[in-house]
């Protein structure tokens, strides 16, 4: 995880392609410029970054089920709840499940869980827009592989 670069996911750890469900894992760094302001002397993972974590996990899932045919961009966050605090050094998982894949949009549910249970959840809406270039599409596929995204599971 590199919070200041919005690199929220360390790797993908589980997938059920037939259920359109996936789980990622992230470990919060001990130090980050983010914690200099949030909060001075009391480093706490910002809730909006937990939402970003769900958005990225579910976003990769949307990319996979649409065959990397377009870029899912976050368009809506509903019923977002941050239920527990996350501190530096903590490892948590994020689950994503596709609720609906529409024409040019998708709806997904995200859930963040830690060792002690639920941390956050939200329903997310994505617009699926054309990639800005073929090179960008290739970049996304390469990035997915770096995250151990199980591309082959979605090609079956």
């Amino acid at each position: 995880m590199r919070l200041e670069y919005f690199q929220m996911l360390d790797r993908f750890v589980d997938v059920k392609a037939d259920e359109r469900w996936i789980k990622s894992e992230s470990t919060v760094p001990d130090q980050s410029p983010v914690f200099e302001g949030h909060f001075p002397g009391y480093p706490l993972m910002p809730g909006v970054l937990l939402i970003e974590n769900m958005a990225q996990t579910c976003g990769w899932l949307v990319s996979a089920i649409t065959g990397f045919s377009g870029l899912p961009v976050l368009a809506g966050v509903k019923e977002a709840k941050v239920r527990a605090a996350v501190f530096p050094g903590m490892t948590f998982t994020t689950e994503g499940r596709i609720v609906h894949d529409g024409s040019g949009y998708a709806i997904a549910d995200g859930k963040v869980r830690g060792p002690d249970g639920a941390i956050a959840d939200a329903r997310l809406t994505y617009r699926i827009i054309p990639y800005p270039s073929p090179e960008f599409q290739n970049t996304m596929v390469t990035w997915a592989k770096q995250l151990n995204f199980p591309l082959e599971e979605f090609r079956k």
């Binding site: 368009a75 809506g76 609906h100 529409g102 024409s103 040019g104 949009y105 709806i107 809406t125 617009r127």
Partner: protein
């Protein structure tokens, strides 16, 4: 039994907080009801779920952008409902 128009109007009224009585078969979802594209995603999701279909929004948008269709053909309520009825019929025939 509720008509397609009744169901869609109820969905729009609830999703966008628009008074139900202001929604008529002649209403244009964008020009008259002032529904923006993001709100229309919520409406599309509700319609897809309610009727078990998939509104082909990408195809419609492409046709409008290419000048092959007008927004009225898809987004005036009576026309939108006719498209929905066609999709339901196509699903039943499949």
């Amino acid at each position: 039994m509720a008509t397609t128009f009744d169901k869609v109007a109820d969905i729009i009224a609830e999703t966008c907080d628009i008074p139900r009585e202001t929604i008529t078969p002649e209403s244009h979802a964008i020009d008259d009801l002032k529904i923006d594209s993001l709100d229309f995603l919520d409406i599309a999701f509700a319609i897809d779920k309610a009727f078990g279909i998939k509104l082909p929004l990408e195809q419609w948008t492409q046709k409008i952008n290419d000048g092959q269709a007008t927004t009225e053909q898809y987004f005036v309520m009576k026309n939108l409902c006719a498209r929905i009825d066609e999709l339901i019929a196509a699903k039943g025939a499949a």
